[in-house]
Symmetry: C2
Subunit: 434 residues, 2 copies
């Protein structure tokens, strides 16, 4: 086997929504209350909704730019690689990276639809959220059957409405939904609260996977203002250990025996430690904390419910059996700065040395296809799904890095700090639409 | 080699200060302003200082109690195993566990002396802190030469005074000092600020190791109020990844090339992931974040400076070369609830299967003795330092678990939550001294 023979399914990528996204999916009565794209005098593009502007058009969607420009937030469509927002270009970019299928998280609605939850008019928010799901499932993913795992957003403010949306999306063939790693960080009941039971129940009954992306709790994990920004970039994925622990000890895994939860972008190399630690805590402390896993170890229960993923994680692949070989999936993170695009097959291959073919297949696509219920092979024969076959379909994709300009977060060569980044974001968020 | 042949040096244990600790170490003028031990009407013992009572006599010092009582905070000396506060009983308990040497963190001053920093009268606080160090170095550790690695506390409010105390302690043979994982969490400049340079400089010049214990930032890592308390217990050690990242990317490691920092109670199994992640971040992002390790990888620089430790961590030992075999040490955590006492040799042995003897020696004692500058073999021949030899010295230590009563945090068998634990702590802190 060579990198050319891999079949790659990525369970964590991102779509930048195109300006036309609501054109086909909203009732006429709501259209005037929907988000619309506005070009400002300074040339930047922002979504405007309910009197507010939403400027993170494409937070961190820097793919295709030279690394020297990674810190400069894209502020207009011109600065973006078209594959970020154009479905046909996206599929060509996937082909160029030998990638068969992709699950795409949203951009302007925020990773689990927090934007809709924050909107003042909840009736409007609900209608727009449903339009978002219709666009995402029918238009974005629906344009290329077998190439995408659709991901629905849910109205976080009402578990009954969430359940209904899970069921509506499932009827459209969507069996993944985005949720927060910490509802209490958004002023909602914690995930230990029975408040959420209608949502868990709907997911279980519809066979829908709950995807929890890093950064959906209290946002970015900044250290002190004068800390190098690299601190945040380093700890952002592993910070989901807090949510992992919340889930592991919660009543949710115990009372919903077939619930499936995906940790998105959390990495995997730290998990053998985490699971060993949980088993140690259970052995040492359950006599007084009264935790009862019915004779199983916490790590056993984890493996029954959880799906995890990695971008580039040699130590995690090495310790794959301490994690659970049937729980591991892979992600590309296109178009964010941590992506391995367009050299994913080659970069991933470095971690796969010595891994038996059967286990490679589980990690690269079988686990993802099984859990997320996608069957691409009904749409194209398996031999046309490999890295080599897909790359051969789009041999003309331009992979050259392209400078898009923009103002660097720090003017000189000193290390970029938290406060440099916050200042840059404040500039983006600062001026009113014109 | 068998568990009997191990030589065990623990770099993280805890002392519960005895009521007599200040008797010999304070100038007469300050004695009336010093902390004193008061027995309350309800039978509990508290330190009283400057009009405040300090009731965590012995936070979590539950060694020797049945696990069913771990949640019940000891509130009086009678509830404690004497080895927690009596140096002669401590050494007998160490012998019973086959443990040659120990580094002890404080209890009532809090882990890095935050108690002194919070005291209103800083002149008094400074004098009492120095008395604490004198007691700890001369009386506690000094009673059994070669059996203890002394650990000094420093006046966190003044880097010049900190530097002076580092030098004073070094002259007394103490080459370890306790510091916080997050000074900014205490309202002080972050560790990225040159503010701390006099302290770093003194540590470098005196060959003093800076020990950073978990929980010295913003305290315990509680999740939501209704979360099972097991969540906190599980993530408390790995939460030090935030401090680890702060240190790794800081100017401190770059500008003080011989500085040595110990991560205390953080575990090790997650570190291969952390170091791989840091190298990935450096490779992907340094072009715009301007981090410069002079051609080295961040993980190389980490290994030059850091000392790490574990209680029971099979996956960490398995991946020891991805961590750095010369950086790993072991800890017992006596008398806290996570301790493996009195079966540490047998429990540790399970993780050591297949590890060459030379590497076992590094992990169990050689790394600790080298970095912390202790030479026990000048005080007793090496063959009298093994588990078997030490156990033979105190064959009569009573290892039976002993119930000490106390009120459980939750009255029924439901899982104990964050709010149960906070309510219990509030009770302890609640009533005034009588």
């Amino acid at each position: 086997m060579t990198p050319d023979d891999l079949i790659l399914v990525s369970v964590d990528d991102h779509v930048v929504e195109p300006p036309t996204m609501f054109d086909q999916h909203l009732p006429a009565a709501v259209r005037s209350n929907a988000p619309r794209m506005v070009r400002k005098k300074d040339g930047s593009d922002v979504w405007v909704w309910g009197g507010e502007q939403i400027p993170n058009l494409a937070l961190n969607a820097v793919v295709g730019r030279p690394p020297e420009e990674y810190g400069m937030e894209p502020t207009s469509y011109e600065q973006l690689r078209p594959g970020t927002y154009d479905i046909h270009e996206r599929v060509r970019d996937m082909n160029a990276n030998g990638m068969l299928a992709s699950l795409c998280f949203p951009s302007f609605p925020m990773l689990c639809g927090e934007r809709f939850y924050k909107h003042a008019d909840r009736q409007v928010a609900h209608t727009v959220l449903q339009a978002y799901n219709d666009w995402h499932i029918d238009e974005w993913c629906g344009s290329y059957p077998g190439r995408f795992i659709p991901l629905a957003l849910v109205p976080l403010w009402d578990p009954q409405l969430m359940a209904a949306e899970v069921r509506r999306a499932a009827r459209k063939g969507c069996h993944a939904v985005s949720f927060t790693e910490s509802p209490d960080a958004h002023g909602l009941p914690s995930l230990h609260d029975p408040h959420w039971d209608p949502f868990w129940k709907a997911c279980v009954e519809e066979g829908t996977v709950i995807c929890i992306h890093i950064g959906t709790g209290s946002g970015m994990k900044f250290s002190s203002m004068d800390a190098p920004v690299d601190v945040m970039i380093t700890v952002q994925p592993i910070a989901c250990v807090n949510c992992a622990a919340d889930l592991l000890w919660s009543r949710v895994l115990k009372e919903f025996p077939t619930i499936r939860i995906a940790m998105s972008e959390g990495g995997i190399g730290w998990m053998p430690y985490f699971l060993e630690r949980a088993d140690y805590v259970h052995q040492h402390h359950s006599a007084w904390t009264h935790q009862d896993f019915g004779g199983k170890k916490p790590s056993d229960v984890w493996r029954e419910h959880m799906i995890v993923c990695f971008i580039d994680d040699a130590i995690g692949v090495k310790n794959r059996h301490a994690i659970g070989i049937d729980t591991i999936t892979w992600e590309c993170d296109y178009p964010h700065s941590d992506t391995t695009w367009p050299r994913s097959p080659e970069i991933l291959w470095r971690s796969l040395e010595g891994v038996p073919d059967a286990e490679i297949h589980k990690i690269t696509h079988e686990n993802a296809l099984r859990v997320f219920r996608l069957d691409p092979f009904t749409h194209r024969p398996r031999e046309q799904c490999t890295v080599a076959a897909l790359r051969a379909e789009s041999p003309d994709v331009d992979l050259a890095l392209r400078s898009q300009g923009g103002k660097p977060p720090a003017a000189d060569r000193r290390p970029v700090t938290t406060s440099d980044i916050l200042r840059q974001l404040a500039t983006v968020y600062g001026s009113a639409p014109e």
